[in-house]
Symmetry: D2
Subunit: 397 residues, 4 copies
Amino acid sequence: MASRTVSAHGALRRLFSETRQHSRARAAPLSDADASAQSMPDASPAKWHLAHTTWFFETFVLTPHVPGYRVFDPEWGFLFNSYYEAAGPRLCRDRRGLLTRPTLAEILAWRTHVDTALDRALDDLPEAARALVRLGCHHEQQHQELLLTDILHLFSENPLAPAYAEGAPFPAAVPRAAHDWAPHPGGIVAIGNAGKDFAFDCETPRHEVRLYPFALGSRLVTNAEWAAFIDDGGYRTPTLWLSDGWAWRTRDDVTAPLYWRREDGDWTTMTLAGRRPVAPAAPVAHIGYFEADAFARWAGARLPRESEWEAMAENTALSQMFGACWQWTESAYAAYPGFRPAAGAVGEYNGKFMCGQFVLKGSSCATPPGHSRAAYRNFFYPHQRWQFTGVRLAKDI
Amino acid sequence: MASRTVSAHGALRRLFSETRQHSRARAAPLSDADASAQSMPDASPAKWHLAHTTWFFETFVLTPHVPGYRVFDPEWGFLFNSYYEAAGPRLCRDRRGLLTRPTLAEILAWRTHVDTALDRALDDLPEAARALVRLGCHHEQQHQELLLTDILHLFSENPLAPAYAEGAPFPAAVPRAAHDWAPHPGGIVAIGNAGKDFAFDCETPRHEVRLYPFALGSRLVTNAEWAAFIDDGGYRTPTLWLSDGWAWRTRDDVTAPLYWRREDGDWTTMTLAGRRPVAPAAPVAHIGYFEADAFARWAGARLPRESEWEAMAENTALSQMFGACWQWTESAYAAYPGFRPAAGAVGEYNGKFMCGQFVLKGSSCATPPGHSRAAYRNFFYPHQRWQFTGVRLAKDI
Amino acid sequence: MASRTVSAHGALRRLFSETRQHSRARAAPLSDADASAQSMPDASPAKWHLAHTTWFFETFVLTPHVPGYRVFDPEWGFLFNSYYEAAGPRLCRDRRGLLTRPTLAEILAWRTHVDTALDRALDDLPEAARALVRLGCHHEQQHQELLLTDILHLFSENPLAPAYAEGAPFPAAVPRAAHDWAPHPGGIVAIGNAGKDFAFDCETPRHEVRLYPFALGSRLVTNAEWAAFIDDGGYRTPTLWLSDGWAWRTRDDVTAPLYWRREDGDWTTMTLAGRRPVAPAAPVAHIGYFEADAFARWAGARLPRESEWEAMAENTALSQMFGACWQWTESAYAAYPGFRPAAGAVGEYNGKFMCGQFVLKGSSCATPPGHSRAAYRNFFYPHQRWQFTGVRLAKDI
Amino acid sequence: MASRTVSAHGALRRLFSETRQHSRARAAPLSDADASAQSMPDASPAKWHLAHTTWFFETFVLTPHVPGYRVFDPEWGFLFNSYYEAAGPRLCRDRRGLLTRPTLAEILAWRTHVDTALDRALDDLPEAARALVRLGCHHEQQHQELLLTDILHLFSENPLAPAYAEGAPFPAAVPRAAHDWAPHPGGIVAIGNAGKDFAFDCETPRHEVRLYPFALGSRLVTNAEWAAFIDDGGYRTPTLWLSDGWAWRTRDDVTAPLYWRREDGDWTTMTLAGRRPVAPAAPVAHIGYFEADAFARWAGARLPRESEWEAMAENTALSQMFGACWQWTESAYAAYPGFRPAAGAVGEYNGKFMCGQFVLKGSSCATPPGHSRAAYRNFFYPHQRWQFTGVRLAKDI
């Protein structure tokens, strides 16, 4: 029993240490100005990600659970609370780019302060607090992904198209490009977290759903296939689109995936290594739900349901289920039967977003290690495109 | 066989005649100006409803299926197409109130022209065209409901609060107000149209879903209960609300159901008979999804899923399932497994709205006769409140 | 003395009677729906003009000055106050089109009620009240012009392009089209109302200004000249435009005067007689300040200053100074030296608009008889185009 | 002749050197992130000011006039052109805060590159180019003022209210606070640049205007007087306001000067030294034209006309004419009689802004040395408040 506790303690300590270290590594190529800018309300400055994840540990773990812990700066809570109503007021989301102070160096000093305190306290924390540490690490992993996608967006707005780093992540092509269909017989299947490993509250409870026979594409839709959709007038054909999608496409004059630009007849796209030619065999990325849905209709197919994707993922090896692009499903992000939000302020983590968003399954090239699983539920609004989001087709059989 | 056809023909003729007549009756209390005004983009002028439903029969039945039919005015198609991309361009939705011409009298003359032509042609129409006539009647019934709710909204904007008609529909209270819970054991249940009667495409195909044990409220939430929610600070407590809901509430400074106003300490509301005191035992109406969801959380309950409501409706007699208020469910409006949109332009009728809207079940006091059924799927955006929309609670058991 | 009073009384009675009658005549071609619609916030329904001008007499003359006068409907003051803060709260300007009640017939009955009461009281009114009657008549003449321009805008929004009346006013061409320059030596000149005839407060006091030698165009700029500006890329050349003008042009994608549309290579425009070909020799109308200014720069000229126009008008006969199109000047609408707003609520009539607007001189084809004079100061924002507004060029000499 | 040229050359070299040095000094307290952020579309990042003023010399002087000059980075012209249409396309004004690259260090290197090249070329430049150097210096002085006011705005948005520098400029009180009236007899006076010293094109030509007797306040309105206006309900009394002003006040819920905040009953304001108590005897700053106009009406006075202010400044010593706050006049910013924009792209410098803005006279505590003169014409929109803008009263006598 003791050894099991020790080993569990060691695992959490390692998770905490690696997660905190990984955030610093992702911020390393950025200047103070890079880390402070906010390119749109959906995105946050890199510095803010570094600070907010630190605020999480300070607010939910250190302050309530570690006697004598000294808050690094009591004024910063207002600045780095994201949306926790129960944790007090906060800076408007779209003003995060105005925080040129505290500086990046001050934020890194805060991180050290918190890391040191938590490292010292970890073994003595009650189990509830340790669960919050674990939650905080997975929360920070989410922000690690956002840090990259937010920087990509920021740099895409700069006419100089700066590179974040040469060897930066990108959605990789699979060797053999042929698209095939993987069938599933349907029936009663169980989805949701099975209870052994970490899960966010919205992944629970595991429950049964009734599926009808279907098939999923053996790989993601490629850039070459998307270019064919464009060439065939996909963006100009209203009957391919949802009503809201066509209104969005028209209002914003959308004619290609985010970041695509035609230069001298050839498509380029913005990447973390700067502006590059679009790779035909690579999976299309940075498309929204509206476009994914229109493409699927054009292709005579449809988008997967969340339950279909997950049932398949638990049983069948398919290419690019994880690590390339998040995959839009036609399932609205909603509560599973019997869902209970986590207790306390962290109960605001997921449940209050269950409106108007669609579930994405899998993970992307920007997802940090240890953050991919079949039951994972990512979610975004249908017009949002700055994540590494792609499409896997589905059909009834 | 002949007699069955005759009887089917007679039923359709009667449906058509009664539907067309009922629209005229609903417009009877309105002046030309009343019938021409548009109080918000979501609403349409009464004259437009009368015209659009007529355009439907002319465009989809008479023109393609009745040789020699003379279009009443070829310029009007542009004016009265709602959203059928396949049927050509059309006036922007938010400019319908600028059509002071054609006059109400001219629209009524058009109706007579179309009614006469269709009446003459009905018996000889091919079955596909007859199906479109049937669809057109149900489509017109939907607009009959909108005609009333749109006029209610228009009159609510007039500081004089004019009455549409003295005996106009309103959501009635049930005699015994006590709230109880009706249990359902869950399991595998079938929902969706069973195939015998008319249904919109989105109600099909009938299919199985896996339900967990639940209970529904024995009646709708009342105005008195809603007033208690207000008095308890329901509209001021962010943790009761979805994130988007709280943003909506804050931006629009929402503090009560649409049309409610406190005068000398007492609530009044706008009705089709003018401004009246809020009736405590009557079901609350004109609330949006965001409010319904917040109320349910405040009450320690949740909103029903569409499948739960429908499974219950097929087996159990509950008060106010139909004819009082549409009932918000927590189910996003989405395609049933195996859903196929209707062929042709009318395939745009439902499928293209499957994004961002929530299903409402039942029917309201403004729903015309013959338009209520358990499998019916109404849908609106979560902020929309000008329909007679209310709440029935649900909970897991 | 007595006879002079009698004659002054007779003149005011005639002015009142003719003015009131003329408004009815202008509304005669309109249906109840036509008279109730509002096509943009800048415009008002015809019914509203009829009511507001009546409210003016009731509120500022009858109620305070006629003992025993019975207000027609006490609820209507809120509806038909335009912007007089001192006269109480009022309906938002952009919601005037929602007043389908009171009906046009009810408004006309109100007019009769007020006309009868004022006719009976007129001879016994104190001089201050008689001055308000005179002001009310000139105020109503302004609304007579707006009634026509607002209806023109409403009908222009209707794809059917209905005609208001066959013989309706339009800006007429002058027989000989040659453009010449009329010189003025400058020096010290006096402008503003000279005190004998009626004037709005903003036209006073008469005062001296120092002018430098200049010349004015002998006639207004024609449609043919404007078409040449278009053909020469006038709307695509940013260096011709004011900074705000170019931003406006770009945001609204302005490429021609309001109402102009190219059909099969030829320009048409909306008129009170329906859509018609653009007449080359007629003065260009429905252009804003930004366009007028850009045109003048393109033509190597400039717009007149208000004082230049007025000094010229008092001494020289020039074509189209009155009765065709209002003429943009480069003078911001501002207080004359020594300006004092009229006493009481009517002091809000002019002074509070002295910000961001430009003075237009002359009058237009829609200006009613008796409303044109050299010292008159009309004013609109630089982007506004729905009045009959045109250009007369000026230059330094 | 030679010695005069040498001395003129020396003066220009000194002006250039001191101006360029002064910009660097103003940026010295800023971090890379501080210098890169943009807090609103009206403001620009400090880095952008440093770059844009450098671009001016490179584009208008070095490239056309210095053979063999090597442009530092050809891609940067697009980034740092402000609004010169003739100088090519440019980054949208509201996206300047996204330019985290080039870094502050790179911009400073560019400055050195340009300074070195210009220093070397200065003596051999033709007179036209030397005039552009002089213009560029005065242009840079304007940006030096904006650099401070933009940083003040940025820091005011940061809840931490950081200080730019301890000894930073602020509008100073005059020793004796009594307000008196300085009379002027009016008559024909000449205003505008008299031709000896540098002037922007809009300050010319000098010309006569006819003034009526008036008086100006002997000093600026103080914070204590403004607080009395607030306490007397000045911000809640619509009849004190211009119509557009009241709409602005209501929409933005304006209740005090920009940066004022009431804390525990006392007013504080944001300064370049951080948040500080409002000093009663200091001149009120950061008020817009709408507020200035309302205050003057409340005080039974009016705002000065530009010509009145300038005529007084040329003849009478009054407190705080320069160096405290820019002073709103009621004069719209417009062309002087005979005005000709400067030739070439720099002709866009002033003329194209002559619409919708009001002239401010004097100078402020943030105005750099050598940039104050009686004929100077500053101009802003009536709602803009982030400059050091105040009020001097006027009245007719």
